[in-house]
Symmetry: C2
Subunit: 516 residues, 2 copies
């Protein structure tokens, strides 16, 4: 058994049985070894940003990591932006990064580069496998490291000769570090804060945004009068009819300032204290209201869900959570607007959907429109590195082939990882992509005003995507995905309904004008 | 004057008057400042890999750096692969990397990451600007650092508050380190090697691949019987009728072994000793023939062109270089093949063309077909990180708007940076892209054999781009570039002739089957 075979066998034994990849010469023995391990599924991406984003989306839905296969430093670099997003989502990912053979590195061949410098910037876990005999053990350690609470990016660097060399040994899985239990004293002290009579905000994140955490959060809020919020960009939040609706903190500091107005205590469960996404001249970076105290019920590595349940039992013993009623918006009519397209989605969202949301400014009104739609998951842009929505949708569809995946995707961001469409076509994934094509980096138009910069024609030109106009339907068809264009709400409704009813991927290029 | 304005003024004073960019919120003041400095041209890319690759292509043709504008760590990461290629090309590039405001970094906002870890891996120059008053001086230093011989990637990290803060001061340009002159003793000792009577190979690289260096090289070879070769992947090599033809070393170790068979001395001028691109089981990494001695006439930072001229004057005083005669292949007919498409290019290559060559396996026969075509430049994939050809073509066209740019582009690599087409359309660039669409990662099929891996169906599937087939003409039209599809040599000839005759970008999706 060679190193690659022992590596793949170890991965599948540890529950990692999907590998998103874009290989090169140094990974050819890994690729060949796939045929010797039937349990491992290989999924090809045409660009590493698709590969890593798909691994992120997969794990958010499957609750276990996928592997990636990346080609040396440049392949890793291409995947870094979505690994940054995965890091911010605390998503477990196992990167297998091929490298030159151990003896070849000193020759500084053209593709030689400092891989560890790149992996180091991910604040995760990195190991270089030094022999074929060790790579199994290293792989088992990588899978555990990826899943150590709260989850992280684990990088296993695999020199080509370690991959092709004989003497590989399959290693047994290693247990990952589970979330730390929050002690009773902490829970009781937080209960005291809630009973203080002062205005309290309860801010939840991570796994607390799933049903169990949401129910406990709703009970606490209902019993104590605390305002409950989910973090601005949750990795995965469960929503819809029959679940508690927990409003997300806004992206704009101005929104958060409104949401937290008058708050004296901020309680954190599975997330960090809110900060401004960017700095703005003369505005605060820290979004905790002045004079308010921050209390940590559970940090991101702790068992926030258990702590919230304990807390609910203490302060809301007999209280039931408030659940969103079934409610869908009416189907709108007329030309598409930032206001009406979300109602189409709310009206027609299929049962048990997964929404990969990179709608950015176009999606500001989406949460209201979908609050009473059938229960669904929303995966958000956790790290702010655009180009995440399409790959995350692709990976989510691999993790849950029977669920409809809806990718609500702004135009500018779509172009970072547009070839994800091809992987969707290849895998016949049930992904419906709606491009919110406002022909601009609309968020930057907004930000240009917010930072107080005076914009002339050249500046405005750099935020414009209309010269020339892009035809996303043609691009999608070029990648093998059936596509249509919608300019009215009726067209969008008709095309969306047909797209989700038909198996396989679809794309709708929706001419939604910018919000501003 | 704010920091951004002083930065841009300093750049243009130092000769950097094109900025390829993809900005974000932290760069909005830089974007706004563009309108206050009319001499600076801003060119938008839809993805940072396009931005950095365009800067590389621009400088290869303009012989001075462009600036880039990148959005924090993830924006830089997206541009890293083509910066890797620029590093290997010794291309001067000035990256302006926006960062959070100095006081905002400690809040670890979602887009916070370790930018210096990434820039460090480029082995270039990096400085973080700490105040608006310093940013002009820092920019002048960055331009000089980029141009220090032989050229490198210079990174200027620009915090948002340094950009928007007042007190900016325009700095005067700083002189860059020029190539070191090679001393007479070295030249004489190399002349002795050439006179030894033993078989010698003269290997040139960098600027020695331009006319002056090529003429000296040809004279030396002709007078002494040395075999002359250009490095495998020159940044820019001048070719065609009226210029000496200097054969490039092959990509495959087997080719190099044939080319250097029997050689006892390898003389280096502006390049390094040849090494295998990858390691292969049981094969040597060092491609210098066993027992041969390596002599350095000029290392990559030295004045190889001057040294070659001095050497030629010493060993070939009265010898004229051999110049390629005008010769074009006959226009072929019939279905496209790896053999005949290159003849179409050779037959129809316009005067004074720039070829951005990322044809990979499809282009193996290109050099012969174009050897007697009108004089042209070829820009190659210097660092092996695929996705370079389209951005490099885009940047080259900005540098030389009156020259026809021909992008010979393999399908798999095209998809890394396909949105470069949109920038070409926006700038109305005279780029004709020919996609060599063999529906596979054909080079990896070859490499799979060369590394001795046994491939099953899953492995083969990961190298296949035909399920589904991609329609590059549709993709191009989606990006606003007129496109056609060719399946025969006649169609390719007809479409190519029309594309180069018409202003603006064009794409031809050419169904050239794989070589193997």
């Amino acid at each position: 058994m060679n190193g690659a075979q022992s590596l793949i066998n170890t991965l599948v034994d540890a529950g990692v049985d999907v590998c998103f990849g874009n290989p090169g010469t140094s990974e050819m023995h890994f690729v060949a070894a796939l045929d010797t391990v039937p349990r491992m599924r290989g999924v090809l991406g045409l660009f590493e940003g698709v590969v890593t984003g798909a691994a992120d989306g997969y794990a958010r839905i499957a609750d276990r990591p996928a592997a990636t296969l990346l080609h040396l430093g440049p392949g890793l670099a291409n995947g870094m932006a979505n690994l940054h997003n995965a890091r911010r989502a605390n998503t477990p990912v196992v990167n297998v990064i091929g490298d030159h053979a151990t003896y070849h590195k000193r020759f500084d061949a053209p593709l030689e580069s400092d891989i560890e410098a790149l992996t180091g910037s991910l604040n995760g876990w990195t190991r270089r496998s030094n022999s074929s005999a060790d790579v199994g053990v290293d792989a088992a350690a990588a899978v555990a490291a990826a899943q150590d609470a709260p989850g992280r990016v684990a990088n296993l660097i695999l020199p080509a000769d370690v991959s092709w060399g004989d003497g590989g040994q399959v290693a047994t899985p290693v247990a990952a570090r589970v979330p730390a239990t929050v002690d009773e004293t902490t829970v009781k002290s937080i209960a005291e804060v809630l009973r203080s009579g002062e205005p309290v905000a309860l801010l939840i994140g991570g796994k607390a945004c799933r049903e169990t955490g949401l129910r406990a959060t709703s009970r606490i809020a209902k019993a104590t009068g605390a305002k409950a919020f989910a973090e601005t960009f949750p990795s995965r939040i469960e929503r819809g009819a029959g679940l508690p609706t927990v409003e997300r903190l806004g992206y704009l500091a101005e929104q958060v300032s409104y949401q937290l107005d008058g708050i004296k205590h901020v309680i954190l469960a599975g997330t960090k204290a809110p900060v401004s996404f960017f700095a703005y001249p003369g505005k605060a970076s820290d979004l905790v209201p002045e004079g308010a105290t921050v209390h940590t019920l559970a940090d991101v590595a702790a068992d926030a869900v258990g702590a919230l349940q304990d807390l609910a039992d203490l302060v809301a013993a007999d209280v039931e959570p408030d659940l969103a009623p079934e409610h869908r918006p009416e189907l709108p009519s007329g030309p598409l607007t930032p206001q009406n397209w979300v109602d189409v989605i709310g009206a027609l969202l299929p049962e048990n959907a997964i929404i990969s949301d990179e709608a950015n400014t176009s999606g500001l009104l989406l949460p209201t429109a979908t609050a009473g739609a059938p229960r669904h998951d929303v995966l958000t842009l956790t790290g702010g590195a655009i180009g995440q929505g399409m790959p995350v949708a692709t990976g989510a569809a691999i993790a849950a082939p029977d669920r409809p995946v809806i990718n609500l995707q702004s135009d500018g961001s779509a172009l970072y990882t547009i070839s994800a469409l091809w992987t969707q076509a290849r895998e016949n994934s049930n992904v419906t992509t709606v491009i919110l094509n406002n022909r601009a980096y609309a968020i930057l138009r907004l930000e240009l005003q917010r930072v107080g910069a005076e914009a002339g024609e050249k500046a405005k030109g750099l935020l414009d995507l209309s010269t020339p106009d892009m035809d996303f339907a043609k691009i999608a068809e070029g990648f093998g995905v059936p596509a249509t264009r919608a300019t009215t709400a009726e067209e969008l409704a008709d095309q969306f309904a047909r797209a989700v009813a038909e198996p396989g991927p679809h794309l709708i290029d929706a001419a939604v004008p910018p919000l501003l």
